[in-house]
Symmetry: C2
């Protein structure tokens, strides 16, 4: 249930990793979460990228946990010194880390494979397993029914996900499969593509915004006309309409269509249906 | 000059736009800023994505402005109702918006081109120009010498950039050309690629981390071996070394190389030079 009845459930995303802040790596997980949650009726209210520092992670997680219905962290799990997310989440809630025995056992079976059988190698593997099996006290551990060794770990309203995009995406899909990330309310979205500059439609657009206060209307000039080159139509502007009230979306879009000069409209734009913006 | 002498200059990034939070669009500007600033010796300490809401923009900008030497905003400029960055930055500092006469004149020359010559079209163009020429009182306006009509607008330590990636990148390059975004200190970076799991090198890595406290060491398992398919070498792990002290970077990397089993090392890895991680 959302914190504010009548509003969509809200979510915050905390991306953890020095490699994102130094620009070495392009984050793609935040966009994946945003897209997935939005399609399920959530409103993502913030995304924050933070470095591998316990206190900074803790402050960001605490702030998001207080402000949002759900929080998702990504990155900072693993056996090395720069994997500090579990510590950060524990610090956010002022609780200690504890070792989860089942997690330790599963890691032993998983991490043991293919590693050294020298005494030093075995000791290192054991150290890694003990580090990775530490979770904030009071965490919920959920074990995949498909034999995947990685549990879904959550602490209060905070879900703790890995950073590697392919693993992150399958973890998210597994967790979402039971509908836990579905909002009771769903967005209805529509789009309108125009061969116009924003300034050409400003009066009609302002009027539509004022007439439909329950509809969130966005205006996005497209950067690159070449993206549209596969189509005969050259679209310079996309207007998006979004609301929990489906009827209002249809009406707002039609209101704008009706008030625009005909030469700005794509032939099929007068029809009610349109695809979501990519 | 950095706020903390002996430390690198710090920066915060505020990305503004509902389209990012709903997952419709992948943000690429934050990564561009992070990469550019990092290469100039900055430490980017946070990236935050916020919706098109004045108070949320204001809170994020205010927090970043207090915490960092420089702040960069991207997105939310333009003539439509959802372009609220100027209002947000003004609210962050509790100052009003004022119209800049030169900006208004340049917009008139620029936005007037190709728009309608009907009375309604001219009125809309005028409204758009007046909206876009509003900047926070006390802003610094810098006019490009190359005739580009868009000024670089900054308010105290906050630079206000457009959202469209190609325009953003050329605006950033223009601003950076005079060295204003250069740190007095520069990072030295090195990388080491290994065909190993993190657990295989844990003991050596921990020892290197402890021995070189002035070097930031990162450990990044690669997700996709196919990325490396053009090379005969299959790299499963990248270790990065970074410091303001160049000598320490070289020593830390060599320390790790010397302590690893030879079979984990790429043939050229024993040499001192290595490329920066992509």
């Amino acid at each position: 249930q959302p914190r504010n009845p009548g509003s969509p459930r809200s979510a915050g995303v905390v991306v953890i990793g020095n490699e994102i802040l130094s620009g070495k790596v392009q984050d793609v997980n935040a966009r994946h979460i945003c897209k997935e949650l939005h399609s399920r009726g959530f409103k993502v209210t913030s995304v924050e990228v933070v470095p591998d520092e316990i206190e900074v992670i803790a402050a960001s997680v605490r702030r998001a946990s207080e402000a949002c219905d759900l929080v998702f962290t990504t990155g900072g799990l693993g056996p090395t010194h720069d994997d500090l997310t579990m510590e950060g989440v524990a610090a956010a809630f002022g609780c200690p880390l504890v070792e989860d025995p089942r997690f330790l056992r599963m890691l032993g079976e998983h991490l043991g494979k293919g590693t050294s059988v020298t005494d030093e190698g075995l000791a290192a593997a054991s150290t890694a397993q003990h580090k990775m099996a530490q979770v904030p006290e009071g965490s919920k551990m959920e074990w995949p029914p498909d034999g995947n060794p990685w549990p879904l770990v959550s602490m209060r309203n905070v879900y703790i996900f890995v950073g590697m995009p392919s693993e992150f995406q399958s973890m998210f899909a597994r967790a979402a499969a039971d509908g836990r990330f579905d909002g009771a309310l769903q967005w209805t979205t529509a789009a309108l593509q125009l061969d116009a500059a924003e300034v050409d439609i400003l009066t009609s657009l302002s009027d539509t915004v004022k007439t439909f206060p329950k509809v969130t209307i966005g205006s996005y000039p497209s950067e690159d006309h070449r993206e549209m080159s596969s189509s005969a139509w050259c679209c310079r502007l996309t207007i998006t309409f979004e609301s929990l009230d489906a009827e209002q979306v249809v009406k707002a879009r039609q209101h704008l269509v009706d008030s625009l000069p005909a030469n700005l409209l794509k032939p099929e734009a007068a029809e009610a249906a349109d695809t979501e913006v990519a």
